[in-house]
């Protein structure tokens, strides 16, 4: 051993990111950044954004807490409703054929206090997927047509049919309602920074079978 004075290691990219960008007043920001980092580098999401929302605290009288949501586009589809999957199978469509869409991620850390009220408030802050998808699907539809002229128009027709069906399914909630990805980072005593992701959907949405 040469040196007896321990030197601090270089801060990791994540530590640097958190210490450079975090607003110290908000306890959720470090968590948000950590998960943002994880999505970007471990799961290769793109077009990541952070949104700020107001979430009521447990006591309805006290002022609401501000909270962050992350949105981004995953490299491949994260969730397909079982009925949607069946429909796609029938049409001969694969996950890759369908346009990737923006997903919302709720960053949380172990030990945070949550309640149904807060969960509901997060969901209420999300736009109605039916409306959102309508605007999205018109462009997506065009997109599909573009590709259709290049390759095979049969598939394009099927995709168009699929998007139409999907718009309807969103309206009727057949293929599930609003959904977010709940991200929880393992923090605090013994926490190793692992991030786990769970799909949370509004309502009773039947489980996937695979």
């Amino acid at each position: 051993m040469e040196s007896t004075v321990p030197t601090h290691p270089e801060p990791s990219a994540l530590t640097a990111l958190i210490s450079n960008t975090s607003a110290p007043s908000n306890p959720y920001s470090a968590t948000t950044l950590q998960i943002l980092h994880n999505l970007e580098h471990q799961h290769l999401w793109t077009s990541l954004q952070v949104h700020n929302l107001e979430v009521p605290s447990a006591d309805s009288e006290s002022p609401s807490l501000s909270h962050f949501l992350i949105s981004g586009i995953p490299p491949h589809r994260v969730y397909t409703h079982p009925d949607e999957q069946l429909y796609m199978l029938e049409k001969g469509l694969r996950d890759e054929d369908v346009d990737l869409e923006r997903m919302f991620v709720l960053p949380t850390a172990q030990g945070q206090s949550w309640s149904l009220r807060r969960m509901a408030a997060v969901f209420d802050s999300l736009a109605d997927p039916a409306e959102e998808f309508c605007s999205l699907s018109s462009s997506a539809g065009n997109d599909a047509e573009d590709r259709g002229t290049k390759a095979n128009s049969e598939k394009a027709a099927k995709l168009a049919e699929y998007y139409e069906r999907r718009t309807k399914a969103f309206r009727t909630r057949e293929w599930g309602g609003k959904r977010i990805l709940l991200a929880m980072v393992d923090k605090g005593m013994g926490g190793d920074g692992t991030v786990v992701y769970y799909i949370v959907q509004e309502g009773a949405v039947k489980p996937r079978q695979n």
Binding site: D59, W114, S115, L116, L182, Y197, A204, K206, P207
Partner: protein, 318 residues
């Protein structure tokens, strides 16, 4: 089976629990109201196993309350009803009831007797067949004949016969054949004792007003229970699966469950770790983890009917 029992169905309240004893009521509640309860009794025809259980049906307080609120059932103080009912029994009713039981017992005996005769014939025939088969086997040196016969033997009668011999162990072909026929035929005129499942008759079907009890007390998960029930789910107690309720999309007789369910109050603290472990638990058995509870609205919105919010969790696979 598609009998419509007269409503309201009496639910027996005994020492803090809710029971249904009438098979017609059990079938009806399951078919028409998606209320399954838990069968907790021993099946007399098959008493040494726990896979299939029989009457009574134990209801969760949530189930009992839901039925009362729907006007389908009423809660009866069964201990009081029995005590008073038996005390008030008129000599005439008693005689009539005993007479009824006697004729039931007699009919049961006759049915059993004729069935035994049949079995005996069949058994004898089988022995003959077996002998023949054996001879054939000896002659042809084929190993197949015997196995066929014994296979037939084991599935003697696939239908449940209501009046089959309730005493097992007395029907190997050899025993049957050697039993003197005289005993069986003489006993055909003796009456069987009968233990009825329900107390009606001799007690009246409709409970007296002073035997009725108020709405069952239910845990705070009741709004979620009734919400999921209204959505068409069949709900069972869930502790065995690590949750409060297990929700089935159809009759649990025929369908796998979809959700493990845990209820929260609107402002009750939710440990995120519980959500994660619930999600993990559900995904591991191809079920969703469903949390929910009654929404508390601001008072100024007015006396709106309580709405229940639910959320389903599944592992995202990433």
């Amino acid at each position: 089976m598609n009998l419509e029992p007269s409503l309201p169905i009496p639910i027996s309240y005994i020492a803090g629990n809710y029971f249904v004893f009438s098979i017609d009521a059990v079938t009806y509640l399951r078919r028409e109201h998606h209320i399954c309860g838990v069968l907790m009794g021993t099946l007399p025809q098959c008493p040494q196993q726990n896979v299939f259980l029989g009457l009574p049906l134990e209801l969760m307080p949530e189930e009992a309350r839901l039925l009362v609120e729907k006007g389908v059932a009423c809660i009866v103080d069964e201990i009081k009803a029995q005590k008073h009912g038996m005390k008030a029994l008129m000599a005439e009713d008693r005689k009539k009831y005993l007479h009824e039981l006697e004729s039931q017992g007699l009919q049961a005996m006759r049915l059993q007797h004729s069935r035994k005769e049949q079995q005996k014939e069949m058994a004898l025939k089988k022995i003959e067949d077996k002998k023949l088969a054996k001879a054939k086997k000896m002659a042809e040196k084929q190993a197949t004949a015997e196995t066929q016969v014994s296979a037939e033997e084991t599935q003697a009668d696939p239908m449940i016969d209501l009046f089959a011999d309730s005493q097992p162990s007395s029907s190997t072909p050899a025993q049957l054949a050697s039993r003197p026929a005289s005993i069986a035929s003489s006993s055909a005129n003796v009456t069987m004792g009968v233990t009825p499942a329900t107390a009606h008759p001799p007690l009246p079907l409709k409970p007296a007003d002073d035997q009725l009890l108020p709405l069952p007390e239910v845990p705070s998960s009741y709004p979620l229970f009734s919400h999921l029930h209204a959505e068409g789910y069949f709900l069972s107690p869930g502790l065995r699966f690590g949750c409060q309720y297990v929700a089935y999309p159809g009759d649990p007789l025929r369908f796998h469950s979809h959700f493990v369910v845990v209820s929260y109050e609107w402002d009750e603290e939710m440990d995120l770790m519980d959500l994660i472990s619930g999600g993990r638990l559900g995904t591991g058995v191809k079920k969703g983890f469903l949390v929910g509870g009654a929404e508390k609205k601001h008072k100024d919105i007015g006396e709106q009917k309580d709405t229940v919010r639910t959320f389903s969790l599944e592992w995202a696979g990433m």
